[in-house]
């Protein structure tokens, strides 16, 4: 431990530098979103809220935002519906190939997303699923179920099996044990899994880029396209709102259940 003297000072300096490095670009977006200029530049020549007003006049972005919210909502519900039974089976059951299945189900976390995107493109083209809701939902499930599974198995892992055994010994059949004991005790894990799945789906660009079509677009992809053709600070204004939305979600969760604890870290 660094406890005192110049060592401590430099340690603090290092931490501050790291935070600036990580958060700097995000923080920079805030002043730029209030720029009066018509292009992204630093420093802005004047200040204005006109880019926030201009957002209201962007039907494409509005449509994309609506799509993204619906998509993230559906994906969250489905990912939990798939991952919860899987997590229970994987952490409570004992059957041959258990570890292999766990590895298989979490493997997409390790694959480069660009590879996944390309593979999905090839499959979806032959099935006519490009630019369709089922296609997008499937692709996002592929990406988010491993996250949900990880968080839920961690939540189940910290729950002592003897508590469930006690419930069974008191006369509770397996379903009652699950709904009266297991599920309430893993509620923080469920909420955390839902939040992570929602955010991952809401922010996902790489895979989505491959499979969106002209009729169906998501907000991150729409923004990506927007920046390709224009360089005005509208994107910064949208980004600020997205950052604030994400931050709000995380703060609410942290307050409500202790997100860090639910994810499996040392909760405070």
């Amino acid at each position: 431990m660094i406890s005192a003297g110049p060592g401590r000072f430099f340690f603090h300096l290092l931490v501050v530098a790291l935070f600036l490095f990580l958060l700097g670009p995000v923080l920079l977006v805030f002043p730029i979103s209030f720029s009066a200029d018509s292009f992204i530049g630093w420093p802005p020549s004047g200040w204005s809220v006109k880019w926030y007003v201009a957002m209201l006049d962007q039907p494409t972005l509005g449509e994309a935002l609506r799509n993204s919210l619906i998509l993230a909502g559906i994906v969250t519900a489905l990912a939990l519906a798939i991952a919860l039974p899987a997590a229970v089976a994987l952490s409570r059951g004992s059957f041959p190939g258990r570890d292999a299945i766990m590895a298989l189900l979490t493997a997409p976390l390790l694959l480069p997303t660009i590879v996944l995107g390309l593979a999905l493109l090839i499959i979806f083209v032959t099935q006519g699923m490009i630019g369709s809701w089922p296609g997008l939902i499937l692709a996002h499930l592929l990406l988010t179920v491993p996250y949900a599974l990880r968080v839920l198995t961690t939540a189940l892992g910290t729950l002592p099996a003897s508590v469930e055994e006690a419930a069974a010994s008191l006369g509770a059949p397996p379903l009652s044990v699950f709904f009266r004991v297991t599920l309430p005790l893993m509620a923080p894990g469920l909420v955390a899994a839902a939040a992570i799945v929602f955010l991952v789906s809401f922010d996902e660009v790489v895979i989505t880029l491959f499979i969106v079509g002209p009729q169906l677009n998501t907000l991150p992809v729409a923004l990506f396209r927007y920046v390709e053709s224009r360089t005005d600070p509208l994107v910064a204004a949208v980004s600020v709102l997205m950052v604030l939305f994400t931050l709000l979600l995380v703060v609410v969760l942290e307050r409500a259940i202790g997100l860090r604890k639910a994810i499996g870290g040392k909760g405070g």
């Binding site: 003897s162 508590v163 055994e165 006690a166 010994s169 008191l170 006369g171 059949p173 005790l185």
Partner: protein, 355 residues
């Protein structure tokens, strides 16, 4: 008395290891039986099989004449107290107790009455609305006991229930468990690795080692007439000395000839004598039925209520324990002392064949 719980050739295998081997045991109605042994002896595995938390590999479990071997835990009607208590952390004390009654579809009014009675039984009436994390270890233990008993199970299973408590509380809880068990007249199985716990409260004790039942008997039988060297050594402290059984039945310990119990021999044997059964004497105790020897004190340890003295007698070193008395420091190292002990306190077992 017809047995209430019967184990017939019960067996548990994990791959090639046999954690419990051909265990046959009958427990009477209202009896408190202890499963005692070192870790890995199969006692907890046996308890889990009885409770249905672990399937048996072979054998049968019979409760009141009914074979329950294949029943899942929620149909076995057994109350289990777990080592870590396993209280439901998201429910308060009253809800913890009420859970089993709800599962049995007991009407709400009767549920409330039974919960109140069970809380009174463990003297926790004031804590009904507390969450488990707001209770001390001893209180959590009592909640766990009340929760297991409020359903009025046919059998109470206790898995090392005292091992997480500190020493003072352990003795108090041990007696409380025994009192409640006797008051309710409930058949109970008590798993422990602590021999003094088992001796203090069990009607009978099953001593286990490596999955095998070594001896089944009352605490008195287990302590005074251990079936073999393992039981003698595990239950209580004991002196061990190699000796030889002569043709006339006497035992030769170096130069010394003594009398002992048992029929092991003739040939090499192991003598076992409990330290507190040896008296430091002046020769007055010598007589028929008594062994005596002269030795040299090599160490003296004062542990408050006890004085423990190490005495070298020929080839053997014997530990002698006496109650300490004020003003009597006892013999010092180097002193010659006379020892005396009864022939029946000299346990004799066949010497273990060197592997």
């Amino acid at each position: 008395m017809a047995p209430h719980l019967e184990l017939h050739a019960l067996e548990k295998r994990f791959g090639a290891t046999r954690a419990v081997q051909a265990l046959t045991l009958a427990v009477g109605k209202g009896e408190l039986i202890g499963l005692l042994g070192p870790s890995g002896c199969g006692k907890t595995t046996t308890l889990r099989m009885i409770g249905g938390l672990m399937p048996a590999s072979a054998g049968r479990i019979v409760v009141a004449g009914r074979d329950v071997t294949a029943l899942p835990p929620h149909q076995r009607d057994m109350g289990i107290v777990f080592q870590n208590y396993a209280l439901f952390p998201h429910m308060d004390v009253a809800q913890n107790l009420s859970f089993g009654l709800e599962m049995r579809k007991i009407p709400a009014a009767e549920r409330a009455a039974r919960v109140t009675r069970a809380l009174a039984m463990v003297r926790l009436e004031a804590f009904a609305r507390r969450k488990p994390r707001e209770l001390s270890g001893g209180q959590q233990q009592r909640v766990a006991l009340a929760r297991a008993l409020v359903i009025e199970p046919s059998i109470l299973l206790l898995d090392e229930p005292l091992s997480n408590l500190d020493a003072n509380l352990r003795e108090e809880m041990r007696n409380e468990i025994r009192d409640i068990q006797q008051r309710l007249g409930i058949t109970a199985v008590f798993v422990t690795h602590d021999q003094s716990e088992a001796l203090a409260i069990c009607d009978r004790i099953a001593v286990m080692r490596l999955g095998v039942l070594e001896q089944l008997g009352t605490p008195f039988e287990i302590y005074e007439r251990p079936a073999n060297e393992f039981v003698a050594g595990f239950v209580g402290r004991v002196n061990r000395a190699p000796a030889e059984r002569l043709a006339d039945g006497r035992l030769r310990l170096g130069e010394l000839l003594v009398q002992g119990s048992g029929t092991a021999g003739p040939g090499p044997v192991t003598l076992m004598i409990r330290p507190h059964r040896i008296r430091l004497g002046d020769g007055a105790l010598e007589g028929p039925g008594w062994n005596s020897a002269t030795g040299t004190v090599t160490r003296r340890t004062f542990v408050g209520d006890l004085l423990s003295i190490e005495v070298t007698v020929g080839p053997a070193t014997l530990l002698v324990e006496q109650h300490s008395f004020a003003g009597a420091p006892g013999p010092a190292p180097g002193d010659a002392v006379q020892l005396a002990w009864r022939a029946e306190d000299t346990l004799v077992f066949p010497a273990r064949v060197p592997a």
